[in-house]
Assembly symmetry: C2
Homo-oligomer: 198 residues x 2
């Protein structure tokens, strides 16, 4: 129950509040207000480090590329599966507007390849969690970053926070290769399908 | 807003109600009552076909095996990525008990390989959605099925419902190869990590 309660109070509280309001007043007006003022899931310490995201496995999954060791000379940039999640309030905003709102946080969790063979055939199957990275869009806090996205690394799951990476470490590659506003939507069918007008 | 509202009223309503109650009375007692009576996300028509699951991309993602065509002589049993989700109330029950409750529904969405090369390296990257399959555990409805799981196929996303597959088509393989109660938890790190005692 402790876990369930945490899920409710942490993960879905903003959605929950919005839903309760929506039952009472004009829905469109509330949606606008809601998205504008809804708190971000990204929190920072006084040094500007991003507090380690928690509970992200209950956010919205958007896609899972795999860059296996055995296809990258044993040393992929990000070993091996990348399970990618967006926070639920920013996903709701994306569905309504097709844009990533200020405060959007996207988490990439790395997972080893556990096996290459199972009952369903040959392939790549997820093994164990290896760690996370995260990116946050914020036009005020990251006014000088390309498209206002900043990228954060975390030493371990036990870390309380993670430091902002230099612009050339992450943002340059996202800028040059991501399909849409620094996000690799070309690999995330969930985001493409949820975009308005699709 | 329509989509957000649907998410709230459909996807998270049971969690939401549980959370509201939990604030008022003993949490452990509520959790027990909640899981016992919480409605299943699985709904059936009068012929016993499973109504096509909707909104499952906002459920809890558990893992994404990939069985690519090029690793299975062009013809994998399930092409190609398998994005697997469990409904959120059954996930909450799993976190509390380590068991799949009666009414659990798990959806497998198949996704093509879109490309094998991207900025992050060589590998497999998700392309387009191909279709879904689902399984439901119900000790009354599927009293004669192994571990009370039944498997359903859907002709297309437009299908209103899907038919129960013969026991030998799916259940036999799950029975023989899945790590835990017909579910391939060996490939689903999210479920393993969320199990009590981990």
């Amino acid at each position: 129950m402790a876990q369930l309660k945490r899920t409710l109070l942490g993960g879905f509280a903003p959605l929950l509040l919005s839903g309760m309001l929506a039952a009472q007043v004009t829905t469109a007006a509330v949606a606008g207000e809601h998205d504008k003022h809804a708190k971000s899931y990204a929190h920072f310490n006084k040094d500007g480090d991003l507090l380690t995201p928690r509970n992200y496995r209950e956010w919205i999954f958007v896609g899972a590329p795999v860059t296996p060791k055995d296809m990258n000379d044993g040393n992929p940039a990000f070993p091996e599966f990348h399970n990618v999640y967006i926070d639920p309030v920013s996903f709701a905003h994306w569905k309504k507007t097709g844009k990533f709102r200020d405060g959007t946080i996207i988490v990439k969790e790395l997972v080893s390849v556990g096996t290459k063979e199972s009952a369903s055939g040959n392939g790549y199957f997820q093994g164990e969690f290896l760690g996370i990275a995260a990116t946050v869009k914020d036009s005020k806090r990251f006014a000088d970053s390309h498209n206002n996205w900043a990228y954060f690394g975390f030493e371990s799951y036990e870390s309380k926070s993670g430091a902002k990476q230099p612009e050339e470490a992450c943002n340059v590659c996202h800028k040059d290769n991501a399909a849409e506003d620094n996000v690799f939507t070309q690999h995330y069918p969930v985001l493409r399908a949820a975009k308005p007008g699709k």
